[in-house]
Subunit: 451 residues, 2 copies
């Protein structure tokens, strides 16, 4: 459904911020409450904590409820936790079942139960149905608000039926056709209704070659389906083939956005829901863990170097050159890792092509290893005038880029098989591997030749 | 519009691949040509080069044209370049203007001109209109295929008008209302048409509070608009307010997917359109450049270490510990960098909040610097029993994490102001900064104390 499209500009944010800094006035409050809920959510997400508190206080209760639906999980949870049961229950009145389920999942179980108890039986049943599926499945994404018709009706009857609705559920591009047992049997696209004579029956124009989405399908799979088939909405069925809801593209868009952010943020050890303007202590705490893990891996690399102290003591040039081999391995490995992680997200990797991919990466790693080995050995020769150093760094470079390719390609597959998130764990493990191999190869070979 | 939803499974791919390996048979060809174009595109994207060639040869001409529309830029260009002008011209018949414009942009100008010359005047005019806007703007994303109505008509007239169409343009959730000068004045949502009595006029039910999207708006801005307002389609106007096309959510979904991939892939120096199963030489060449750039930055770090050779020669423990400070700086910096890059993509950063963000990052960097400085200095003390080394590494850690925070936050903003892609250049420059500062701080302080 098309809504008001005016969107908040950077200038408006600036003006509002300046006004807020000078204190709260009736003008600021009016200005704020005239914005759309999506714009206010964006404003909140883009504001430091103090400004947020001011904005939240100025918001009309009803608008605040709408804004809550548009916020990211982090901020949404923050505000929900400040509310009491009655306030949360009041929210439930004008909200889609899928959005409500999302919110309830952020709250403690006791609150959720109290809120559910306050709802009428039919609504409660709907929300409980969505809540019964994990959040990242088709069932968790779906909305139970939909219009169903029977195959025997004529379009004319359907038109009259629709006119009795004050409005249609959002993003209704098709009506869903079910039989008497509520089993899904097809869809009736609205565009088809509009281009067909009203005397025709639903059965004659409905599309039956549509496979409904099983409620257990993962959200990522659903997103790929919507992308490949350019869908606006799709029916969801349970194990018995009964129609239980529909998924709309607006929720799929959020899945795709989050998926993209997930890989990016995870590779830096950040949560994709991370609030950009979180307060100092919250940010410091969430970053500290990742730094601690990396400190551990850095100590492993140091321990490896420590084993070759005597050699470094003899030939100090080794200390100067040793980061090069490790760093090049890290870069090459992370290229392979990133490519494989993206390919996995797009569902491109399976049994039939993984061997080819692995061997291609190995050959590419070897070729680039040779290329940069030549460059780096010439540079080292010019710098330190020592053919052994030059040879050692060249050999270590080839070895590390080859290992980096293997690790970069195999790690995400192994981690996925072990149900560990490759985007999160992959880069840490990879750099540990390329550091260790880089230092061992370079310093090990050197201590052999300089022994 | 809902299409056939059966999607290709990994098992099917496996079966097809095995069949292809045993040679081309009529069965394989039939199996392949019975798939949807989206599935064949997915199969091609997931296949090594040899299998691809076989698949492409087996495809029916007409289906191949459809598959081409579903492929990523890299592969699409590969196949387009193998076609002659007549074959490309034959493609233009059953394809949306925006998709056609996308394809023509991949071809050399001479071919594009020949193909345009072969089209009829009206179609050519439409494609040229889309081609006149940069690919990554609303104008480049839009489709010229749409249904417009006049405000004075009754809904009944509109219903009869629609029935004269064999089908509506894809994703038609609203008709566009224009005046006699073709200026956009509002939208008529189809859901509104269905819930209103047919005797009412368009003027009475149309929504006029909709701001059309200017053709020059960037694709990223368009994506944020669609996301925030849950749109299925939106009208596009030129500078004079004339309606020139409409953008549909399927194209926006592609923009969002590409945006997510762009940041992820760019940070590893990869192109977001990169073909996962590109041949060896193509892959090796595209990776080599990035490795070369990183080799240069590694040599800068080495040169810095080289300046302190005498100190390392005296205290070899420094060589063992020095990667720790540099590596922790790199990790901390990349966390800030990633957060800021994502925030910029979401349009969260402006004049009003950038100072707050920068100072929060500095404080967080300092706090985490202190925390891990304590840990690392205790560990170093236990290992080397030297209080000076322990002190030096602690001080260097705090300094480098502080610099990393500043660089991570300021770099993407500076790069963006210089119109350089922060996701691509940011991580290289950042690691150079954190390596240099890490080594200078650690070895510099050490040479001061051990002098």
């Amino acid at each position: 459904m098309a809504q008001q499209q005016s969107s908040i500009s950077d200038t408006q944010i600036q003006v509002l911020n300046e006004a807020l800094e000078q204190g709260v006035s009736p003008q600021v409050s009016m200005m704020l409450n005239s914005l759309t809920s999506a714009d206010i959510a964006h404003l909140l997400e883009s504001s430091p904590p103090k400004v947020r508190t001011l904005i939240w206080q100025l918001l009309d209760k009803e608008l605040a409820a709408e804004v809550l639906q548009e916020l990211g999980d982090d901020l949404r949870q923050f505000y929900l936790e400040q509310m009491n049961v009655d306030e949360v229950a009041a929210l439930t009145e004008n909200i889609d079942t899928d959005d409500l389920a999302d919110m309830l999942q952020l709250l403690p179980d006791t609150i959720t139960r109290q809120v559910l108890a306050s709802m009428d039986a039919q609504d409660r049943h709907r929300v409980e149905q969505v809540l019964s599926y994990p959040e990242d499945t088709a069932g968790g994404l779906m909305n139970t608000d939909m219009i169903t018709v029977r195959p025997s009706n004529t379009l004319d009857v359907v038109f009259r039926y629709l006119r009795r609705h004050p409005e249609l559920p959002e993003m209704t591009d098709a009506l869903l056709v079910v039989n008497r047992r509520d089993e899904f049997i097809g869809v009736l696209p609205i565009s088809k209704m509009l281009t067909t004579h009203p005397s025709i029956s639903v059965r004659e124009v409905m599309q039956t070659d549509i496979q409904a989405i099983p409620a257990s399908m993962s959200a990522n799979q659903v997103a790929l389906l919507f992308e490949r088939q350019d869908l606006v909405s799709a029916p969801v069925i349970d194990e018995e083939g009964k129609l239980v809801g529909r998924i709309t593209v607006d929720d799929v868009v959020d899945v795709i956005r989050e998926e993209g952010e997930h890989s990016l943020m995870s590779m830096a050890g950040l949560d994709e829901d991370a609030d950009t303007f979180a307060p100092v202590m919250k940010t410091a705490r969430s970053r500290a863990i990742w730094l601690g893990i990396n400190l551990l891996t850095a100590f492993i690399a140091s321990a490896v170097i420590g084993m070759f102290q005597d050699t470094i003591d003899k030939v100090v040039a080794l200390a100067v050159l040793m980061p090069i081999v490790a760093s090049m391995g890290g870069i090459a490995g992370s290229q392979t890792l990133t490519l494989v992680i993206r390919a996995m997200a797009l569902g491109q990797i399976g049994q039939s092509n993984v061997r080819w991919l692995l061997s291609r990466e190995c050959i590419v790693g070897f070729l680039n290893g040779c290329l940069w080995a030549i460059v780096v050995s010439i540079a080292a020769m010019l710098w330190f005038k020592d053919p052994i150093i030059s040879l050692v760094i060249a050999l270590a470079m080839v070895a590390n880029l080859l290992v980096a390719a293997i690790a970069g390609a195999a790690l995400p597959l192994l981690l996925k098989a072990m149900r560990i998130d490759p985007a999160l764990a992959g880069s840490v493990i990879l750099t540990t591997v390329t550091d260790v191999v880089g230092f061992v190869a370079f310093l090990g070979l050197a201590s052999y030749f300089f022994a």
